[in-house]
Amino acid sequence: MKTEDLIAVLAADTAPQSTTGERMLRCLPIALMVTLIAVVALWRVRPDFATAMVSPALYKTIVPSVLALAALWLAHGMTRPESRMRARWALIGVLLAAWVVAFVLVLNSAGFSGLISALDTPNLLVCFVSIPILSALPLAAVFWAMKSGAPANPRSAGVAAGLLSGTIAAAVYSLHCPEDALLFFLPAYGIGVLIMAVVGGLLGPRLLRW
């Protein structure tokens, strides 16, 4: 087939396509709702839910939600082939660095013994298992939306998708989690989100290639 013939074929197909943003708007709210329902129905919200949600313990929901918004901005931008999205990566980097600095400061004042006792609870394992499980649907939704885009680097686009799904899952899981200590939240949730970033980075080259 001649190239001019191909052009004629392509030009005849001007059916509108949905953008990555439109796809995200379509499927992410659904994934979030189903994940919320799963936590309420299967995990159950924490016993003191009503009081916890108006106490400082709310930070466990707010911090991952803020990160999720930054990751959403990044993941959306990563589907444009002409940009490396440096500013958006920088924002994520600053937020994650703040997370690490906070952990170091808290660890410094409480010491390793404080860390060990904060993590010495069956809730640690529940957290490590729950965040990846709750991430599954948001991750599938994000990958489906990003598949319509053209990420210059599918691996880092996958990392962004993993960060987004992990932070969504962390925010939702916090409604169940009864551990409010920073020495629990920072390492346990941090590792949960990190696992998802790695999973996203491993899946990206396979699912987002074009």
């Binding site: 001649k2 190239t3 074929v9």
Partner: protein
């Protein structure tokens, strides 16, 4: 508006369904894409190069929504071209380094008349179901409109368009598989 619409204007019109603007844009960018491919892939021969050019055009078509209407078109075009050219070379067993900055120099490459016949596309079209292949060839090679094709095949114009849209998606996937 200037006498010669910019690529951005043409692409925005294309996104609103204006086929003539879209055809004009594709015709305008093809020599640029060809220039880049030839500058990098002389070893593939003219035919091999044209296969890659068609790959790039198909990808531009399938991914056109990833261009944001308020962004300049050229950086997007170069990024997509670069990605596909690297892919095409990888598929043919060689790695190349392709900094986007170099593209500006090769843009002056001659467009040339268009006797460019590529082989891969025909092989892929043969793999489509017969009706879809028939529609793609009728519109491409015979220059029929969707309405003509529909009348001949006893389909509505809309059905022809839907079939064409699906066929192009399948072609993109089949080519992707060929590269792997």
């Amino acid at each position: 508006m200037s006498a010669e619409p910019s690529w951005e204007e043409l692409m925005r019109a294309a996104n609103r369904g204006e086929q003539r603007a879209y055809a004009r844009l594709l015709q305008a960018i093809t020599p640029v894409v060809r220039g880049i491919v030839r500058a990098r892939g002389g070893a593939l021969g003219p035919e091999g190069c044209e296969d890659v050019v068609q790959d790039v055009l198909l990808t531009i078509h399938v991914k056109r929504q990833s261009w944001r209407e308020d962004a300049p078109f050229r950086p997007w075009l170069y990024a997509v071209t670069r990605h596909k050219v690297i892919d095409a070379f990888r598929a043919r067993g060689r790695r190349i380094d392709l900094p986007v900055d170099d593209f500006i120099e090769v843009l002056a490459a001659p467009a040339g008349p268009d006797p460019f016949e590529a082989q891969d596309m025909d092989r892929v079209i043969d793999e489509l179901e017969p009706r879809a292949a028939q529609i793609v060839r009728a519109i491409g090679i015979d220059g029929e409109t969707a309405a003509d094709t529909g009348a001949r095949l006893g389909m509505s114009e809309g059905a022809v368009r839907v079939a064409l849209h699906r066929a192009l998606k399948s072609i993109a996937q089949l080519r992707e598989r060929m590269i792997e």
